[in-house]
Every structure is written in structure tokens, then in C-alpha cells.
């Protein structure tokens, strides 16, 4: 089944949101976390164009960025966009992110709205 929404967790004690999912909240140490949707779009707060790419990555350069969502969480992911600027709006898209030992691996990457 192909996920079309980013599902993370929200801490029911302090409200912090995390993606990917985790079992305990590093902020308040609570283990009471429930699933929550991260969001359909976020703002790019930083990025890099990486020219020294690791094995299994086919794009050169590889653009990586950190996207901030209204839910309060920040997510690191690959960015597929012709032009990249801090502040731009991006949406998560389920795609092949790399190969690990020749097998394709999927994950969320970010594209312009």
C-alpha cells in the first residue's frame, strides 16, 4: 500500500510532534504518543546541494532540506525542485529515494506545491 500522507506522532503530554514515528518524547519523556498527520505542505528552512553523493544515490547533486510544518515538526528529506530557496513551500511526495544494495527504497521527498 502506498502511503500518501506523512504520519508521525504527537506527544499527548506536551504536544510535541515528531516524524518519523518514535515511542517516547525526548522533550518530556512521556510514552503516551499517538499518531498524527504531519501536514500536506511545509516551509523549507534550510537546504544543501550535495556534490559528494553516497553510493545508491543517482542524482548529482543531491538536494537535501529541512521542512518545517505547521504541526510544529521539522522533517529532513530530499528536495526535487528546479530552483531551491529558503522559505519556499513544499509538499511531501512518496517516491524512490535511493537504492540500498541494488534494492529500491521508498520514502517521502519534497516537491514544490
Amino acid at each position: 500500500m502506498m502511503p500518501n500522507k506523512m504520519i508521525g506522532v504527537k506527544c499527548t503530554s506536551c504536544g510535541a510532534v515528531y516524524y518519523p514515528k518514535r515511542d517516547c518524547c525526548p522533550k518530556c519523556r512521556s510514552i503516551k504518543l499517538e499518531e498524527t498527520e504531519i501536514g500536506d505542505q511545509g516551509e523549507l528552512i534550510t537546504y544543501t546541494e550535495l556534490w559528494a553523493v553516497p553510493k545508491g544515490i543517482s542524482q548529482m547533486p543531491l538536494v537535501l532540506g529541512i521542512v518545517q510544518f505547521a504541526s510544529g515538526t521539522r522533517v529532513l528529506g530530499q528536495v526535487s525542485a528546479k530552483e531551491v530557496k529558503v522559505g519556499m513551500c513544499l509538499k511531501p511526495v512518496w517516491a524512490v529515494v535511493r537504492k540500498v544494495q541494488e534494492k529500491e527504497v521508498h520514502g517521502f521527498k519534497f516537491e514544490p506545491i
Binding site: 518519523p20 537546504y47 546541494e49 550535495l50 556534490w51 515538526t73 522533517v75 521527498k109
Partner: protein, 395 residues
């Protein structure tokens, strides 16, 4: 009441491209020099700590502490391998300190080393990248340079750090390393050559925008060693013991993006505060520091989070020459990771070795005049595990 712990000897194996020796050979080179420096003579060593992050992956050898105990003919010494990523060295020295302070051991040898150049560049980059968060970072193709680059862009936008500040740090550290016989890189560079000239575009190419070639430490082989002993017997071996006044360690959220403020190095802040508290000293009391500049931006960020400069202002101090060897507060007189090199398991131990030589007045041309108190921090992962030390010499 914990016992006082002193450092009585230090030694290093030349950092660089060491095709001439195996990892064990490099460990031995450093250990032998440290043992000689400590004037141990026939005195038995109680414990051995060996720090290496990737011995198994790079040279197909595990249980390296057990192996070295035999190689050095110091069996039946207690021996442990310590692994904490790039902070392995700091953790090994910390463990040595703890065993003496607790009264378990009297004389402890710590040796750290790595043979990073044993494998091709893309393989070592990947091995180092395995420290990152597996599902939040690694799987996306994250490498340490890419994390440092994203951190740098945030820092530049938030605090006004510019490319030239990063280049100035590289120029300073290369210059200092020229006076460090054990350093990997002995090459002068200039701000014109790597930053201000048009040809700097080719001389200092982008590796992970905005970080460039000369913002990143080299891939190095090498080893370093120190000998620690109980404070009350140190004078038997040297009249220049260096006291381990403070130790601190802290971890942080693994995935950089999940940290409340990705530009804050909380593990540096927490571990350094612990070390200063234990030493009953403050950053202002320090005469110099050895910081973990795997990337030039980290020298700036760590100097702030360790308390030497207000957050967001260290780059101004760099501009004013405060951190030069002859400046008010020298940082990385050894040449730092940038020019001394960064064989991962060796670095934390090499930092302590440099502090030891400097505080004993044995640092030759790169001596920080009158140095009596110094700080080091060894940065694991991308700042999610940091070990800090405050050393002092009572004259």
C-alpha cells in the same frame, strides 16, 4: 571522595596517509611515545582503553584493546575498546579518568586511532554517515557534510556568519599545523587563495553548498596516546603533571531536524558546563581551547555553546583575530581537525595530548604563552554526544 587524576605523558603517531603501518602499528607508535614521555620505566600499567570507531569495518579487526594489550606486552592489564563515534577518544579518556578517580586503577594508558584511508572515499563517507539517524536522515542519502552544510546555512541566515569567516578559520588552522610535526596537512593557504580571489571558485569548490573543500577536515590515518595516573603518585614520573580538573558528557536528540533549535549544540553546552562546574572554573579562566572542527562552522558554534563567546558572535571574534595563535584566546593551536587531521578514534586523545604538551610548555613554535588552563571538546555524531574536558597545570 574521588581521587585527583593527572596526565603524565602524551604521544602521537604521525597523522596522514600511513600506508607504512597497520592500525596496530599506529597504536604502538603512539603508545610507545606516550609511555616514554611518562617515564614509566618498569611501572606496570593497570588498565588500557583503546578508542576506535571503525577498526572492524576498515581493517577487519575487532576486540582491538585485547589485541593491543598483547602487542604491547602489557598483559594481564584490564583492557576495553571504547566506541562513541568521533567522540570515542574523549570517552576513552573519560573512562580512564573514572577508573583512577574511583580507585580501581593507578596508571592507565589510553590509545586512540583509525585507518580511514584503508577504503575508497565513498565507502568511508558512507561508514561515517551510519552515525546519522537511520530513518530520519541516513535513508535520504544524508552524509555528515550535508548535515554540516544545512547547519551552516541556518547559522549564516540566523547570525550573519559569512563564507569569509569559515575561510579565516581554515587559514588559521593550516597556519598553526605548520608548527605541529604530527599534523596531516602541512600546507599554507591564504584567504586570497581560498576565498577572495575569483579563482577561489576552483581552488575551494563547493562540496555541500555552502560548505567548500577547505571547510572540511581531511581523511586521515593516525593514532594518539596519553598516560593518566593517580594524582598523588604523579610526581614520581614527572615534575609537570597536568591535572584533569573537569570532565563532562552529554547527549542530544539524534535527528538534527527534531532538535528544538537545530543551531543550538546542547550537548556541547551541557557537557562543557559540567566540566567547568567540576573544575570550579569558568570559560573566562581558560587560556586556550582545542575544539572539534570537523567542519569550520563547528569551531564557531562550539566556541559559543561552550561559553567562550555569546551565541551568534564568535564569527566577529574570528574577524578580529581573537582566536589566532597570538590572539587573546587561541583556538586549535594544534591545527585542529582541519589541518592536524581527523583519524576518528584518535582525535579526542590527540586533543588531550595537545592540551598536555601546551600546559607543560612543550608545544614548541606553536606554544600558547603561559598556558595553565585549557578546554577541549570532542564532538560525536552531529553533536548528539559530546565529551568535554578542563585541564590545568598547577605551577
Amino acid at each position: 571522595m574521588p581521587r585527583e587524576v593527572s596526565i603524565i605523558g602524551a604521544g602521537m603517531a604521525q597523522f596522514g596517509n600511513r600506508t607504512d603501518k597497520t592500525l596496530m602499528g599506529l597504536f604502538k607508535e603512539a603508545a610507545t611515545r606516550a609511555i616514554d614521555h611518562a617515564n614509566l620505566g618498569d611501572t606496570p600499567i593497570s588498565s588500557l582503553y583503546v578508542s576506535t570507531m571503525l577498526a572492524g569495518e576498515l581493517t577487519n579487526q575487532t576486540a582491538t584493546a585485547s589485541a593491543l594489550a598483547d602487542e604491547l606486552c602489557i598483559i594481564p592489564v584490564a583492557a576495553d575498546r571504547v566506541e562513541n563515534g568521533p567522540a570515542s577518544g574523549g570517552s576513552a579518556v573519560k573512562n580512564a579518568y573514572l577508573s583512577i578517580a574511583a580507585g580501581f586503577a593507578d596508571i592507565v594508558l589510553v590509545v586512540g586511532g583509525e585507518k580511514m584511508r584503508e577504503v575508497p572515499g565513498d565507502r568511508i563517507t558512507d561508514l561515517i554517515a551510519t552515525m546519522t539517524h537511520p530513518t530520519a536522515e541516513y535513508i535520504n542519502g544524508v552524509t555528515l557534510p550535508s548535515l554540516a552544510a544545512m547547519f551552516t546555512r541556518l547559522y549564516m541566515n540566523k547570525y550573519g556568519v559569512e563564507r569569509k569567516h569559515l575561510s579565516m578559520i581554515a587559514v588559521k588552522n593550516h597556519s598553526n599545523a605548520l608548527m605541529n610535526p604530527y599534523a596531516h596537512i602541512h600546507r599554507k593557504i591564504t584567504l586570497e587563495g581560498i576565498c577572495t580571489s575569483p579563482e577561489a571558485e576552483v581552488n575551494n569548490p563547493i562540496i555541500a553548498d555552502p560548505l567548500r573543500l577547505f571547510d572540511m577536515c581531511p581523511v586521515s590515518d593516525g593514532a594518539a596516546a596519553v598516560v593518566l595516573c593517580a594524582g598523588d603518585i604523579a610526581k614520581k614520573f614527572t615534575d609537570k603533571p597536568v591535572i584533569v580538573a573537569g570532565v563532562g558528557q552529554a547527549t542530544d536528540i539524534h535527528a538534527v531536524a527534531q532538535r528544538p533549535d537545530p543551531t543550538a549544540l546542547n550537548a556541547v553546552k551541557n557537557s562543557s558546563q559540567q566540566a567547568f562546574k567540576m573544575a570550579r572554573l569558568t570559560p573566562k579562566d581558560m587560556d586556550f581551547a582545542e575544539l572539534h572542527d570537523a567542519f569550520t562552522i563547528l569551531e564557531i558554534a562550539e566556541s559559543e555553546d561552550a561559553g567562550f563567546f555569546e551565541k551568534g558572535t564568535a564569527h566577529k571574534a574570528v574577524e578580529q583575530g581573537v582566536t589566532l595563535l597570538g590572539g587573546k584566546f587561541p583556538i586549535n593551536p594544534s591545527g585542529g581537525l582541519k589541518a592536524r587531521g581527523h583519524p576518528v578514534g584518535a582525535t579526542g586523545v590527540a586533543q588531550i595530548a595537545e592540551l598536555t604538551w601546551q600546559l607543560r610548555g612543550e608545544a614548541g613554535e606553536r606554544q600558547v604563552k603561559g598556558a595553565k588552563k585549557a578546554f577541549s571538546c570532542n564532538f560525536g555524531g552531529f553533536g548528539n554526544n559530546v565529551v568535554s574536558f578542563v585541564l590545568r597545570r598547577d605551577i
